[in-house]
Symmetry: C2
């Protein structure tokens, strides 16, 4: 530790409203290096805690579970930097940050491989009925009912990737190794890839056996997977979502699944986390994860390092490592 830390701790103040996931394991990596102000540990109401520190706090540390709203940002008069342990920044009011000139760093590329693996795991799981097969065996049904329903082959299937960024491109690599035919949609055609580009999601869904959602949640992408897209995907079509729940119109999704209008889903994310739609709990063609696609021991350690490196860079006036492009 730099001896300066002890002399001028206020220079290395980091405000935390709610403990980010990474604190479950690696809190000490932060408290060893910075003066961590824990609003959630204070007897003061959050608002009072914010006001008490409004003049000094330059940095907020957060995660997807704890939103940084315009109100919070307005309360923190000296705020310069928001450091999140997430990749997507829809939990942070980026417009307000933009207006105030507050910069935001995210997890960068730390989770990309893990999220891509989880996406592939969910896709195989749904198509090959792994989780429902596990229930079949654990439920003791195998010896009495030999006929376990057949799954669907992955090889040769047309998989549409929605958002061919860090995660989507890794999903594509894995799909190609399994013999799938990869297409994608994104804001614009990528020059660096041989995959077929679709300018709109509806046509991609129509031409795909499965969709894997890997894009950011923005006002443009909210509910992009609506009833029309699901109908275009069709009764055997699969959707995997490892991005954000609100990319899908969840009410319509539940309806389509219950009515057999789509073939199955693998969902890591939901519109109203930590609640997943209970109507789907009895369905064998649904696989749930509790927003854990990015969660490995390794990625948690790595993201702590990225966050600390950003904090160190900020406090020593060096360039930030994983600055989020803020277009507002």
């Amino acid at each position: 530790m730099d001896p300066q830390d002890h002399q001028q701790p206020e220079l290395r103040q980091v405000l935390v409203l709610q403990p980010p996931y990474v604190f479950n394991i690696h809190e000490h990596l932060f408290t060893d290096r910075f003066h961590v102000l824990k609003a959630y540990d204070s007897p003061l109401p959050t608002r009072d805690f914010l006001h008490a520190n409004a003049q000094s706090v330059k940095v907020v540390l957060c995660s997807g579970a704890g939103p940084i709203t315009a109100d919070v940002i307005r309360d923190l008069l000296a705020l310069k930097l928001v450091v999140t342990d997430a990749t997507g920044v829809n939990h942070i009011d980026m417009a307000e940050c933009g207006r105030r000139g507050i910069v935001v760093t995210n997890a960068g590329d730390v989770y990309s491989d893990d999220v891509a693996d989880a996406a592939i795991g969910l896709l195989i799981d749904v198509m090959r009925r792994i989780t429902s097969g596990d229930r079949f065996v654990r439920g003791g049904r195998w010896p009495t009912s030999r006929e376990y329903p057949l799954g669907a082959k992955l090889e040769g299937k047309r998989v549409g990737i929605v958002g061919l960024g860090n995660i989507g491109s890794r999903v594509a690599t894995r799909l190609e190794a399994m013999g799938c035919i990869v297409s994608y949609t994104s804001r614009q055609k990528k020059q660096s890839t041989h995959f077929t580009f679709y300018p709109n999601i509806l046509q991609l869904a129509f031409d795909s056996d499965a969709l894997v959602l890997c894009c950011a949640l923005t006002s443009n992408t909210r509910h992009m997977i609506n009833n029309k897209v699901m109908k275009a995907l069709g009764k055997k079509g699969i959707i995997v979502n490892v991005a954000r729940g609100a990319l899908i119109d969840e009410v319509e999704l539940v309806k389509c699944l219950v009515e057999g209008e789509i073939g199955g889903v693998g969902l890591d994310v939901f519109e109203n986390e930590p609640n997943a739609p209970r109507e789907l709990f009895e369905l064998d063609n649904v696989v749930f994860l509790p927003h854990a696609a990015a969660f490995t021991n390794e990625s948690f350690y790595d993201v702590a390092q990225v966050m600390i490196a950003n904090l160190e860079a900020f406090f020593t006036n060096k360039p930030l490592l994983t600055l989020v492009n803020n277009k507002f």
Copy 2:
């Protein structure tokens, strides 16, 4: 259909002792073309049925669920060909076939992609806790217990493939796409691959984070995954078995899992199917499949075509398509 079939149906007789899985869906493809003698549909005891047809039956059709024992083979005096819908032939007494000059055809390469996909699905599932995550959500635990245990990253993990044949090499391709470091053991070093070869399973286990079993079950490979190998793999080590249950000493496997001596398993196959060890039903680091790694709608159609092509070849004195090498 060839008009000759009706004139001399006995020339195209195919004996079936127990209905193979492929009959669930595609029985008519066989009954349309051949004179299928169903021992399981006869009021006669099987032995009597065999004796009644002993002089004429040249072909037996079977699957992994129905063994073709030396006794059956001895009863069928005219037997020339056994056609199985499986890849592995450990359900057929190959020694007796060899002695009698009876040839055996298997599923060839039909299932390889599907089995490789299931192996990868099981590996991701165990390492990333997909099935246990699904139970966590369906069980309603997510809203009350936010802390879902972290999984393990696949990228950079050392995965040892046991048997680098049609399936093993496809598993390797998929693992490489996920950034795993692939090694293998097999009867002999393959010249056509860049993966590191280990001449023995113990050293491979010692140097691996996970093992994926893709080899045939023979007297040499039975119980090759014993207590020593599991201890060498270690407390975080994962085993995926999509080959045959008896490759693993299941009693020792249960013991190692219950005592935490290995990290987790994904099992499609078991020593005493359709029974899986009940001691493991409560463990979250175990994922079960009911011997379904090869089972897709597509592969069932494809294997029916392979079996029919072999039968047609036999009845028209043409070369068989997927002859099993019988070294006895």
